[in-house]
Amino acid sequence: MKEKILIIEDDFTIQTQLKTLLSGNGYEVFAVTDFSQTIEQLKEAAPHLVILDIKLPWNNGFEICSQIRTFSDIPIVFVTSSNTDMDELNSIMLGGDAFITKPYNPAILLAKIAALLKKAYRSPQTEIYMWKEATLHLESSMIEYKGQKAELTKNELKILYYLFKNAGKICSRNDIVDFLWDNQLYVDDNALSVNITRIRDKLAAIGLVDFIKTKHRQGYTL
């Protein structure tokens, strides 16, 4: 089941781009279109999480937040361009779950959303990814193939995680490095090559030969 996210943001470009970003990451996304009917639209959409701007036409975000809190406990993420302590304090006092300032890093926003959804709904989904009989165990940092297992380092796990998530697609070296940086692993281009070589060695040891393919001048693919 896809989790539903409601965007309450009056800037049209940000609204559509957020929609693209979130739906690209596997969420079902709605946006409020008529700000005089925010609460009605919210009740209708029944989202799992709300992304709420503070400066809005009709009612501001704080008012909307306290209105939502009268009937629902869904996670609310405040996004705002003002980063004063007063606003942050206000948002927490009124029941906001997170406070993110613009311009936000999309990776950080996605991580916050995922964490809040996990906390609120405790999806029992175990962190396992599968592709062509190979299984990636995120929690134990292992890769399994036909009963044989190999342990992975932090970097190797994250690289494989990215490849598994985008399995079948071509992942450019730049995108992989970007993803690693978003996960606080500051790997450069050379180190990426080293890591890929090591992963291939480990995969070969458990019988997975040519699992990661190199697409010349484009990147890697599973």
């Binding site: 800037d11 470009t13 940000i14 781009q17 957020l18 693209t20 970003l21 690209g24 400066k55 361009s81 003002s82 980063n83 004063t84 302590d85 007063m86 304090l89 300032t101 613009k102 311009p103 936000y104 890093n105 999309p106 990776a107 950080i108 730049n174 995108d175 490095v177 970007d178 940086w181 978003d182 606080q184 500051y186 450069d188 281009d189």
Partner: protein
């Protein structure tokens, strides 16, 4: 009050007295008084005159010195008429009135300037918040349409964001106390978020990032420290050399935690080092082509002073190390137990 000037001002009085003495002497001699009597009377007159002049001089001097001291002790000297006694002499009262008028117009002017400044500051803050919306929109647009081109735009956007933040913190640095909340902050988290703020710029300059184990807690305001780190990282990118490395390390002693940010960039000449935190100082690096405003480090220093963080810079030939020194005072250690 100078004695000479006083004497000069009293010249008419002295002259009138001398004239009186002369007239009296002539009159007394004409009315057949013995010369001794005349001299005696003249001597007494002179003594009385001199004594009265002296007494008058010293009493004035005392009064005026008191006033002078009072003024010197005042922080806002134009407010003197508010605390001084209303003078008794007719001419002084006029001066007092003039001072009052001057004070009033001064206060009005100050009020006006302060209001203008506040309005301007509010406008700047508002403008910055507004400009962040299109920056965010552009950022999302680029992230959703990844290409080598969008990466370049993202790097430039990071620059734009740095500049707007700088303007915002410059406007706020005056009243920092109104906008900070000291909390327990994980040093590691702040460093990571500062790196994330500069991700594309760092990647563009091929910076290698090294982070020691800096998993330690300090008590400070997170967004201010993040801003300071952003400025320092920005400098490391701007003044980088071949195969740039940026290193973060932390050392902990009894009462303080030192976060050091070192790069292997072009460094700062020894002669410039003592002045890098001055406002508008660009130094040799600023003159040799790099676009330098002399605001970044000045702001860092100013914010650090207000947050009670020590800020030092060290550079020998190549590379620069900037250290942030967080004090751990007894109170905090006591609370931590």
């Amino acid at each position: 009050m100078s004695g000479k000037q006083y004497l000069k001002n009293q010249l008419p009085v002295i002259l009138i007295n001398l004239l009186g003495m002369l007239a009296l002497a002539l009159f007394l001699i004409a009315s057949d008084n013995p010369i001794q009597t005349v001299l005696f009377i003249l001597a007494v007159w002179s003594i009385v005159l001199v004594l009265s002049l002296l007494a008058f001089y010293f009493s004035r001097k005392k009064y005026l010195n008191k006033l002078l001291n009072m003024t010197e002790q005042l922080e806002e000297r134009y407010l003197l008429p508010e605390i001084m006694q209303v003078p008794e002499r007719a001419d002084e009262q006029v001066f007092y009135q003039i001072m009052k008028m001057a004070e009033k117009s001064m206060l009005e002017r100050i009020g006006e300037v302060q209001r203008e400044r506040r309005e301007y500051k509010e406008y700047i803050e508002q403008w910055i918040h507004e400009v962040k919306t299109p920056i965010t929109a552009m950022k999302l647009l680029c992230e959703n349409n990844r290409s080598p081109f969008s990466r370049e735009v993202l790097a430039e956007l990071e620059n734009i964001n740095q500049y707007t933040e700088q303007a915002l913190y410059y406007a706020r640095s005056e009243h920092a106390e109104k906008d900070y909340s000291v909390r327990e902050v994980n040093l590691c988290d702040v460093v990571h978020s500062a790196i994330a703020d500069n991700k594309y710029l760092l990647r563009q300059s091929n910076m290698t990032i090294q982070i020691d184990d800096i998993e330690t807690k300090v008590y400070t305001d997170e967004k201010w420290v993040r801003f300071i780190l952003n400025q320092i990282i920005g400098n490391a990118i701007k003044y980088h050399a071949e195969q740039p490395i940026l290193h973060f390390g932390a050392t902990k002693t009894n009462d303080k935690i030192v976060l050091s940010i070192s790069d292997n960039g072009i460094g700062i000449p020894k002669s410039d080092l003592p002045r890098i935190f001055e406002k508008g100082f660009t130094g040799q690096n600023g003159r040799t082509g790099k676009n330098s405003t002399g605001i970044g480090l000045y702001l860092c220093k100013r914010l650090c002073d207000q947050l009670g963080i020590g800020l030092t810079a060290y550079s020998e030939n190549r590379g620069t190390t900037i250290s942030l020194i967080f004090q751990m005072n007894d109170f905090i250690i006591g609370v931590q137990g």
